[in-house]
Amino acid sequence: MSKEPLTIALVGNPNTGKSTIFNALTGLRQKIANYPGITVEQKVGTSIIGGVLHKIIDLPGAYSLNYKKLDERIAYETLIGSYEHEEIPDLALVVVDSSNLDRNLYLATQVMDLGIPVMLILNMSDVAKGKGISINPDLISNSLGVPVVAISAKNKSDIDQLKQKISESDLEVPEPLKWGPDDSLKEAMNLLINEWIKPYTNIPESARSIEALRLISEGEFNNAFYQFEKEEKGKSTIKKARELVEKGGGNPMATEVLSRYNFIGECTSNASSITSQTKASLTDRIDAVVTHKVAGPVIFTLVLLFMFQAIFSWATPFMDMIDLLFVEGGNWVANTLPEGMLNDLLVDGVIAGLGGVVIFLPQILFLFFFIYVLEGTGYMARAAFVMDGFMTKVGLHGRSVVPLMSGFACAIPGIMATRTIENWRDRIITIMVLPFMACSARLPVYALMIAAFIPSTTILGIFTLQGITFFGLYIFGIVMAVLAAFVMKRIFPTGQQTPFIMELPAYKMPKWSVVFQNTAERGKVFITEAGKIIVAISIVLWFLASFPKTEMPVLTQTDNTEYNSSFDVTENPESYQLRHSFAGQFGKIIEPVIEPLGFDWKIGIGLITSFAAREVMVGTLNTIYSIEEEDGESSTLKEKLINDVNPETGQPVYSIATAISLMIFFALAMQCMSTIAIVKRETNSWKWPTAMFVYMTALAYLSSFIAFQIGSNL
């Protein structure tokens, strides 16, 4: 019975309900962060169990400690205490899906070899019962030699029972290698441990045998994470160990796995029984439709279409509310604070800039809500299954679907998520085309342009032209990504297919607390990460647009022919100030370059500032137009854009051609410094981010040029 505070690690296969147990144990006492220097999410929390405050770590899901992915490596490293940011756990809770006992116990037998106390949690016992599987936890406990508790994580009393069991645990270390390696494998392990692992590596003692097994199976150690010496000696010893296994009639890649499964088979054959079921399960029936050759891709497209239509229309009332709030807030500050420079800065710089960003929070929350729901139900894996054939044809990967879909929210998490793609070439192609996916930072620009310039005509009863344009922009991004990947596949050819072993988890209702928590987390990140930069940039911009201070000369139609050609007599002083400010001058400098795309100097300023983050474009326009407007009242940016008139020609600045050209430019151009930074970090060289910037921006310029020239000559 333990009264000491413990570090408890939750470990298990993906889709075992590990997160649900973690949430149930920790409640709100948890924090989610990335592991330092890498992109695997780390969840740490605390839980009071039996009156003691314990630390709970939720390890990334893993199928095996013989890692094939970074997630699995982190789980392994943490468990053996080799991961420097986390101490070795005092207790490992292995979460097992009761309806899929054998494969889940494989990982459990590995964890039992690590010399730390283990407790087995048979989760989803209700699902197993529904599938006609009955398990006797006591028999499992006896044959494995570890305490076992059967629960359903949804059930609160079951969680109490789990807590009870943890507080009663005597923290006994299970007998290592209980699965019984055969003599030749044992001999090979001892050879490797004594001749190389023990003298020449810093692998902790308790992890030596599991590492020996890993090396015998892998035959190499070029992805080892620990320090070692005498590499040649290591290689030759591994070779010798493998030869020993072969001499004993085994296959070094298979012997360990088969022995473990034999042991598991013995444990489960008398402890669990399956009453045969004749009718197809719900999952089978759904899959028959959802993964159907024809219906599958159609359903996937419809799901995406529905998602984006919903994001666009359902978020509108919330966005209007936020818009109103910031307009009113700005007016209030303007009228409350004494007049002066700070007043102007707060209203036109800070509040206008921030308001232009917060307004898109509803859409981001809706998008992530849908992504997490699709993930939670198990549909995401089906989407990867259905799309993999198409994806491999164009040089991508079924696993690319999820990073690419994450790219709809933001390229940065998407690029990080490509780490699930084990093959380097597949991964680099996915990274290179991922920024074409319409990220949420483009949403503000798209939404603004569509709301202002695309009529809201209803089509087919439920869809509007605005919704369809919006959908079209997403499709455009996808098509460009596919084309680019297709070209890149030709540039970096490869002979063979890469492995792709993916579980299709049983359908279930998404765990709402997990969905809402993750969605809120994304929204928070967007506001705090993007928000800070945007407020900062808005302030700088306000200064750039307000200085140097110039007074509009008093002119008449007759006395100054030079000025007459450059501005209209109806121009107001604010507009004049902006045109002659630093920002205006800079916009003017780049105007000749962007003029063929239909952009004026105001958009030019926006293009420059949007390199900080695409949505800054809207903040910039907001600032520019708030400054330009006559004092007294605020109107929304949308109205200002529609009403903006070119002082030289008297024509509206924004035609439909300009709006489309701008949307295309935003769809294709690489104008996000955070993305460039993350690509540099993920690929470890400047080569890829540079190539990405050049090819994407060139493509954007060319496409916008064509679009505008065609559009304006129609």
Binding site: P36, I38, G340, M341
Partner: protein
């Protein structure tokens, strides 16, 4: 241009913002590129030593 209290605060904010932006986009990337991350994962998650 008159220099009053509000102008002072406004320029103070500008100074803070400029320091923040420099730190975020110039200094931090330089620092980060000098100290390699703990787990420097290259192609196929093979760690480079």
């Amino acid at each position: 241009m008159e220099f009053d209290f509000q102008t002072g605060v406004a320029f103070g904010m500008l100074a803070i913002v400029l320091v923040y932006l420099t730190n975020r986009f110039v200094l931090t990337p330089i620092r980060r590129s000098k100290t390699s991350p703990d787990h420097n994962c290259g192609p196929d998650c093979k760690c480079e030593h």
